[in-house]
Symmetry: C2
């Protein structure tokens, strides 16, 4: 964890081009030929980002969906993906999932690389999109007085993960296995939001990142946060610290209504000591999934 944090800090020192956004956003935004390209790359490792033994078709789905979710957070239209793939135990199933997720989102496979390896299977995906509005939303535009919104519930991925891990075949695990990138919602929201990001690592952690980037504090009302149906009340706190639900978290001027279904969960305040206040108290402890952690 410390090593990875050091490395990321050092990489930030290299990423001085404005398109890199200081490596502190969901994606890079590069101006080319009058268009703003949105570029993102996420890696996944067996046993870290998915359970060993999981259906390879679901792994392919998730690899693409999590990258498209970064494009959604920029309101970008996907143009294509490049796949870096180390061969695994079930490449045919991987391919089926890849075909599904690309067809579902109407995104072309443009290129990439395959390699042989041993050890835990590793893969990466680069998604390329085109911004549909300017300025392209960032994490850093939230202003005191704005309202904080989220597109939908959190906690379903956590429950799906636990059911998969425990072999509970009666449970619906799709939220964890096949997250949906909210591309249409992202495009509707992009022209209106003051800041936006996807919730990949935990609502509290991601809200704190948005607050830090904006130099503000986010006040969240826990009773307003939407939770997955059937989530036991005593697990709500945990669900706000989990992630993998890929909802969009965004801020709007107070008087503004979102153009798609969403839940108002708090507001933006001038920067206090803590980046996130949960029902008025600083959010403490493990706020979400940091780089270097394993579920």
């Amino acid at each position: 964890m410390a090593r990875e944090a050091d490395l990321i800090a050092a990489l930030r020192g290299l990423a001085t081009h404005p398109a890199a956004r200081g490596l502190a956003d969901d994606a890079a935004v590069l101006e080319v030929g009058g268009e703003a390209l949105v570029l993102t790359h996420d890696m996944m490792v067996e046993g870290v980002h998915w359970l060993a033994g999981q259906d390879a078709a679901d792994v392919a789905w998730k690899l693409v969906a999590v990258n498209l979710s970064d494009l959604a957070a920029k309101g970008a239209e996907p143009l294509g993906v490049l796949l870096g793939y180390a061969l695994g135990d079930n490449d045919a199933r991987f391919l089926e999932g890849l075909r599904d997720v690309l067809a579902t989102h109407d995104v072309p496979l443009l290129g990439g690389d395959t390699v042989s390896s041993h050890g835990p299977q590793t893969m990466g995906l680069t998604a390329i999109g085109r911004a549909t509005c300017r300025p392209v939303p960032s994490r850093s535009g939230a202003k005191a007085g704005d309202a904080v919104w989220i597109t939908g519930p959190v906690g379903a991925a956590m429950q799906g993960f636990e059911a998969l891990r425990d072999g509970d075949t009666s449970a619906d695990t799709a939220a964890y296995r096949r997250p949906v990138a909210l591309l249409a919602e992202g495009r509707m929201l992009a022209p209106r939001v003051t800041a936006m990001m996807d919730v990949s690592d935990g609502l509290l952690l991601d809200a704190s990142r948005l607050a830090e980037a904006s130099g503000a504090t986010i006040w969240l009302d826990s009773f307003r946060v939407p939770f997955a149906p059937g989530l036991p009340p005593d697990r709500r706190d945990e669900a706000m610290r989990w992630g993998d639900d890929y909802q969009l978290l965004f801020t709007l001027p107070a008087e503004s209504e979102p153009p798609c279904p969403a839940h108002r969960i708090g507001d933006v305040r001038p920067r206090a000591d803590a980046p996130v206040l949960l029902d008025g108290a600083p959010a403490t402890g493990h706020l979400g999934w940091q780089h270097g952690e394993t579920r």
Copy 2:
């Protein structure tokens, strides 16, 4: 090997967008906003693409250089890279090499991802470039009557690899450790060539790919092929089957002279049974480094 070939064939079936060029070129070429973007992604795995124990700074250099070489083969100007990096034994040295290679080529780091893993270290890089001329060179434009050229000698990387592997500290191993992407040459050549690619996997194999893509046969005169200084004559055949030298292989109309130093090594003929004739005989055996092989 068979598994990887099957997978690549299946991926080709998914990559039907014209920008993907059937996954049969050095890079994807995507039209956006009046520009042609050139996109490539290569992965590298410890023990497959580099020797376990090699200096991590050299690994970083090579990861970037091999991707920039794909851009060079399209005559593209690099716009930036995205890095997918699994932490290794010497991340600080990796970072030094990354800083060097990006500064040397004046290419920005735009984004990416870092992950923790175990097992052999794996990394990927996506390079994004902008084409500097139209049409963007491909492998498929060589015509009977064209001359076949290469920018420089082959065999130096093979010798460098062997010296590194054998711990011969007196030898110059830079050609293997720190290949140079011929970006300036690629840009000069792009408006003139009928076909172009970089020689990453072996001159004979890559020439056969260019010939197949063009529906032609390439006749090579072995006595015209430039070899690394000091390469023993009895290793020339092997050097044509090795790779990792990242020269540019290209075809020009017969009467045309290249705009940069290069060696004329053969010519393009109507398609015969074999894609490559070496001194008139079909090139047979192991033509180069195929996917799935390990040095």
